[in-house]
């Protein structure tokens, strides 16, 4: 059997706020294999973001083991985790988080700037490729403030793709977008999925779960549901059905 990309064993995360301890994650165990498109759902405060941050090596669990691509993240130092984020993970945020006053190309190049093994020429090539993949070949030199929300999010996705990560993490990546743009972004994620990428997508929207291959539901820091989706809907079809808006 194939080796899992992510293996979580009884992950716990406690936050100490004043004299109280908030148990954001109370023992989460699951594995994710290459090529899966997993949505994570749950009510607000159920621990989705905390889980995703842990998966993205941005946060360290209070207890439990986390293996990413076979490496134990728990034992790693700050710098090693930074390198892991740089090499293996692509993060897409709800609020895009692009660099202000910076054009699309430079934004996408950013992760490769922190990789000493990448030459300037290769970096630009990869960034252009990634922008092409998200359909922004004609917006390369547009500054972040000169683009729509949907375009900015696509730049953010290109940025998450540019380092060929083994794992793409998205935290409510469509949360700030209108329905049509959301579906467009999902078309993009489905394409990436079809191209063999592993994606974890946190969302509030149950509809999005119909486009993924697996859906995990959290409640109070525990998994209450973990189902594989046998009938993955096509986001492209949904997009075609949406009425075209005239502006």
């Amino acid at each position: 059997m194939e080796k899992p990309i992510i293996q979580l064993e009884n992950i716990q995360r406690d936050f100490i706020v004043g004299s109280e301890t908030v148990h954001a994650l109370r023992g989460v165990t699951f594995s994710i294999f290459p090529g899966e498109f997993v949505t994570i759902m749950g009510t607000s405060g159920s621990g989705k973001s905390t889980l995703l941050n842990t998966l993205g090596c941005l946060d360290t669990p209070s207890d439990g083991e986390y293996y990413l691509d076979g490496y134990s993240v728990r034992q790693m130092g700050k710098n090693e985790r930074a390198r892991l984020r740089n090499n293996k993970i692509g993060f897409v945020f709800q609020s895009y988080n692009l660099l202000p006053k910076t054009n699309a190309l430079e934004n996408v190049e950013l992760p490769l700037m922190y990789n000493p093994n990448v030459s300037a020429k290769f970096r630009k090539e990869k960034a252009l490729q990634a922008l092409n993949a998200v359909g922004l070949a004609d917006r390369v030199y547009h500054k972040s403030n000169q683009m729509s929300g949907g375009q900015q999010q696509r730049v953010a996705i290109a940025r998450a793709l540019v380092n060929d990560p083994v794992l793409i993490l998205a935290d409510e990546a469509t949360g700030n977008l209108d329905t049509r743009t959301s579906v467009e972004i999902l078309v993009l994620f489905q394409k990436l999925h079809q191209a063999g990428r592993t994606i974890i997508f946190v969302t509030h929207n149950p509809e999005i779960a119909t486009y993924s291959s697996r859906n995990i539901v959290l409640k109070d820091g525990r998994i209450i549901e973990d189902k594989y989706n046998q009938h993955i809907e096509s986001a492209q079809k949904a997009l075609d059905l949406l009425p075209v808006m005239n502006d």
Binding site: N79, A82, R83, F91, N97, L99, P100, Y114, N163
Partner: protein
Amino acid sequence: MNFTNLFKIALRALGNNKFRGFLTMLGIIIGVASVITMLAIGQGSKKSIQSEISEMGSNMIMIHPGNMERGGVRQEASSMQTLKLTDYQSIVNKASYISACSPSVNSSGQFIYGANNFPSTMNGISEDYMEIRKISVKDGEMFTEQDILSSAKVCLVGKTVTDNLFPDGENPIGKVIRFNKIPFKIIGTLVPKGYNSMGQDQDNLVLAPYTTVQKRVLAITYIQSIYASAITEAMTEKATEEITEILRSNHKLKETDEDDFSIRSQEELSSMLTSTTDMMTILLACIAGISLLVGGIGIMNIMYVSVTERTREIGLRMSVGARGIDILSQFLIEAILISITGGLIGVVIGIGSSFFVNAVLSWPVYIQPYSVILSFAVCTITGIFFGWYPAKKASELDPIDAIRYE
């Protein structure tokens, strides 16, 4: 993480905030420019005093009667008569570190030619005096050894005296002028030297053989001072010691007696006068240095605000793989770039304004290369020093906290 990339990142970040960067730089620019200008003014006046003094004579040693070291206490007349001609002769005969020596006796009074008269000083000297004081004869001739022996009534006149006694441009050579009712024949004129930095007219003088002034004008047997030239500047001190020895033995002073004469060298005079300008230079540099410090604090201030303002950006950079050290380097490079650029502009403006001061106020300025290098180094260090703390703060941010920062 390679340096080129960090440099690019820092450069882009600065490019995004050009105006703020410029404002931050302004402190450094003003600081460096004022340090350079102030030092240039200080050094300039020192230089001009030094050259003024070296114009006074060549490795000059001045010997006066009495002991000038007794503070400001006025000395008895007898102590002012301790220098004799024999002292002069002993120095000429025995001293080995000097190249020229002349006695000096002065008398002030009116010089009269026809209907014109002019107050000046008659300086009784020997031929060596010309070399010691760097005076040269313009027209005519210097008096001779024979003139000294015979106390000849001859003199050489400076330009100011000539101009006043011969306002119509007559040739003064061969003319007879009167001083103290004594007729003096003008045998030469002196090359003009102009005013010195203390505003004294160096051409208002008349030179005559010392014997003439001593016997015919003043009727004294002592001399008022002795001037000598050390062979080289380095020998000045040795020459001074030697002369002290000669004079002490001449005056039969006991071991415990104080000198009854005083010796000053040109070197001493120079360091005495320049110590004031040195002090002024230090003072000016300190004030300018403080403005550089304020500029540095400006950098820290702006960097600190900028770190807070860019917390999300820092979080994002960390989330895509920047390590603490990368963030630290980025902010440090930004701070250094600001201070170096500011420093460079400051150097240019500093040099420019030094020349401006020179041109407009006609103050002497002198830009020493070390002052440029110094202020530049100081501002780079300022950048590192004041950029360090905010940069360190930035690098220690927690990635999630930073990216969630509102």
